[in-house]
Symmetry: C5
Subunit: 252 residues, 5 copies
């Protein structure tokens, strides 16, 4: 679970809700028609913009960025080193029953234990990397689209509210004030959706995507080294070079 | 028929109309002069921006993105494989009478059945691909232009309405409110046109264009394989490599 | 004469004027001081931004894009083919007295008829192409600058009007309304200037520029073919490859 | 002196001042606190953004773009040709006492007359070109920053004014109007600063910079030709190729 | 200590505070709930956007840009030259006890005095350069994000304030004015945060980062020269070529 994302989401909601409660009640900020026009409008624009197949991949991709732990390349490297040592002492086939948590690494280890040739291992795993990269990229693009559509649909909703209000000014100032407050809610919803959720999550997703793909590339390189029967220390050194320096100096 | 686009368009219109009906009547949102200034202005800008030949290709291109089914490269590959098998068993000339739904594939198959040399097949079909790609690109550019002009013309219309209203404040607040409501309609029209129609459709079009060109390239590669008398299984493998991994894993 | 540009300009003006007349009189939208601040401001910014030599080329470049016919590369190719046939039957020198409408083609043909070596023909004509390309590019950049300055100067004018109005609120609401209406006129002028004229014309200009340079390159290639004594049919084929596929399929 | 820049600056100021005087007095547009918040804010942002060394080069760079004449490459070429002819007739050493107005050309000629080897001449002069190019680039970047900061600081000032006004609504409408007018002045100042001065001058500077560097490169090439004892006519032809075609056709 | 940054920060705060005090009291511009929504919102967005590891590097990076002196490459070169001279006269091992202020240079000199081979020196130091460059890059990206989030969160806060105010118009105009003033404070905070702090500091940071990395590269090149036993004068010349010409001409 990515702590920063959770902290950010809670802090963001707390800031907005706290600020509302300091001056009034939450009820004043909930309006079904406004939710419908912003939510419906953004969903509509997303459906027109992208094919269904692409849209369907969004929710799992988002959930992962919130609830999954960021892959730690260092830990991955250490696991591979221990697998390499085992393969050295016993044999590559001994990896068959080795418990591997990471799903992708498990697949890679199984391919190695099955004695598949390196080209086959590379091409099968590379395909998976490409597919994941594509899924991530399309998820990020959709979220960025939502971050653009939110304010736009908010403005459309506010325009609807203002036109309705201006058409009927017969009520007293109190009633007009309430109508105008409701009209502004859609702009508020759109701004919160874009700037507190869609935009920032797209940013984190892009970060995670890079890390995930890095991890997968480390695993491929490591398993190829194991298959080639390389010295575990040599494998470790090779994999270390995948790490950005900031990662290496983290333990300082 | 692209379901996502249809769903999106209906959902978008429903959100806006529903939100209007929840607080008033649709009639309050229809004003002929406002439609004229936004519609006329956007059309005018489009005519000044682009040559007539380019503009004329827009409506069919748009319609296609809404009503045509997205080409399914997988299905195309399977069809080509079956054609390759038939050509293997009988001969390339047997493809002459083979029923082929896709217009472009039909043309390609006919060229093959006519025993035209590969270079000729490639150059004739490539020309068609280039022409379609260009038509798509220009359609997307025009739609993006409309998405920019919509809000601009909306603002011009609102300015006209406000100036007219401010010139004559003698009416009571009721009348002023109605004038101002009308003045804001053009901004509303422009925002809806840009954010619910032109912008998102341009996005989907760009997606479809890529898919369509991919399909055409698959067809060329397949037909060249058939003409060269390659093994249908080999052809299938070659064509599979055209598919983005996301497409291949779709059936999972 | 480019019909689309003319139609666009007329339609744009008609939309705005019609929308004004539907609710008031044109007189309410004409204010000398507002015209001065927007027109003067945009002109001033243009003069500071660009050297005089560049600015002077703008009016003829604009006029051309409105009143000149778009060059039709197909027609140019046909003319060159007929010249090539004449040169074949008689001799290159016979082109001397051949009537050629297009100025650039005339120059090219004269160079050919003067028996100048191909390198000289190329370098002389290329220089002219470069000069025209540069003139177009600078005209487009200036127009895009005007499209940015229009709204900015409009806002400055509106701020002036609002400050003046707010300094003297003693008049009745009628008078205030009129002052505010006038203050908004500069924003209106700036928006119309940018979105109905400068921006779209810059777009069309960019399109024309490409077409004009294409035409010139076709002429150079054609004349070099004539000078080299190539077969008119070969020349035609070579020149056809210059055409974008969209152009070739136009006659379908 | 660059006439276009001067004309533009005068016209811009005249448009704004004239528009103000047409409806009120200049005094209403001068407010010390507003000048302080915009001027101070923009200066502050500039100081935070850039190191002192960079900022110090801005004023002379700006002044040059206003008061210096644009370098005329043609004139430079002619001067070099006459120097080349003199060097041919007499000797390179005779250039020692030749009066040369342009500072950079004088330095170049002196290096030639001192019989320095070509590599030394090139490296010394190239260093100066790089230093000037860098100075220009940083001046343009700072001005573009000012053009962004102006409106931002203007908005901050207006927010301050509005908050102050809203905190104390007890005055009559006249007083409120005046407070609001003052609040809007900062936005006015920022818009004028950005759109009439900083932005356009940055544009002209970029243009001048290119011309100045072109001139310097012409001088290096010319002096190297003189040092190599090349024919003045050959030198002229070589230098002519530096000119953009638009420059060559200027005399038409 | 970077004087320009300090001067800029003080001048910026002074301009804003001075402008406030000229018309009212600072107290009117401090509102806890507004600080919470902007500060909390921006922090929240930053936490969602970036992983914790990245965010933690921001404060030290910022502090450095404010309180550290800009590295002066010239001074670094002079120090290296004196070290080179000492190494020449005595030996590389004599550098062991030479006092070196700069931390990175000390590390480099120690590696040289330890007689480590050049490749090892290069790879160890290069790793540090990469890590610092990455830390800087991520710090700049986070600050640019803050400069975007500030105004967005300010707008969200203002919308909350306006909705609350409009929901309850029963107070007199005085009370409404105060509510509206408070509502605008968040926009004010966001604008100041973005345009006076986050944005400009990101700019200075980018500048410093380049200078710091330049300094480090100079040190590597210099120490490699010392290790190779090169002539101090030769080393000096080589290092001078690292300086941008603007740096060299500073002493003129």
């Amino acid at each position: 679970m990515d702590i920063a994302t959770i902290v950010g989401l809670i802090l963001g909601i707390a800031s907005v809700v706290g600020s509302i409660l300091a001056g009034g009640t939450l009820a004043a900020f909930i309006d079904v028609a406004s939710v419908v026009v912003v939510g419906g409008g953004v969903t509509a624009a997303t459906f027109i913009k992208w094919p269904l197949a692409q849209i369907k991949t969004l929710p799992p991709v988002c959930m992962k960025s919130i609830f999954n732990e960021a892959p730690d390349p260092l830990q991955v490297i250490e696991k591979i080193q221990s697998l390499a040592e085992k393969a050295r002492k016993e044999s590559v086939f001994a990896l068959e029953n080795e418990p591997v948590e990471d799903e992708f690494m498990q697949k890679a280890v199984k391919l190695a234990a099955d004695n598949r040739p390196p080209e086959v291992i590379t091409s099968i795993l590379q395909l998976e990397i490409d597919a994941l990269g594509e899924r991530h990229k399309s998820g990020i693009a959709i979220l960025k689209g939502v971050a653009e559509d939110g304010p736009a649909m908010g403005m459309i909703g506010t325009l609807i509210g203002l036109v309705l209000m201006l058409q009927n000014l017969s009520g007293g100032p109190d009633e007009l004030g309430k109508s105008m407050a409701v009209a502004m809610l859609t702009t508020f919803y759109g701004a919160v959706l874009a700037n507190m959720f869609a935009g920032p999550i797209a940013n984190k997703l892009a970060f995670y995507s890079e890390l995930e793909l890095l991890k997968m590339n480390i695993i491929i390189a490591g398993v190829l080294g194991i298959v080639a029967g390389e010295n575990p220390r040599v494998i470790r050194e090779k994999l270390d070079s995948f790490l950005p320096p900031g990662q290496r100096t983290k333990e300082e």
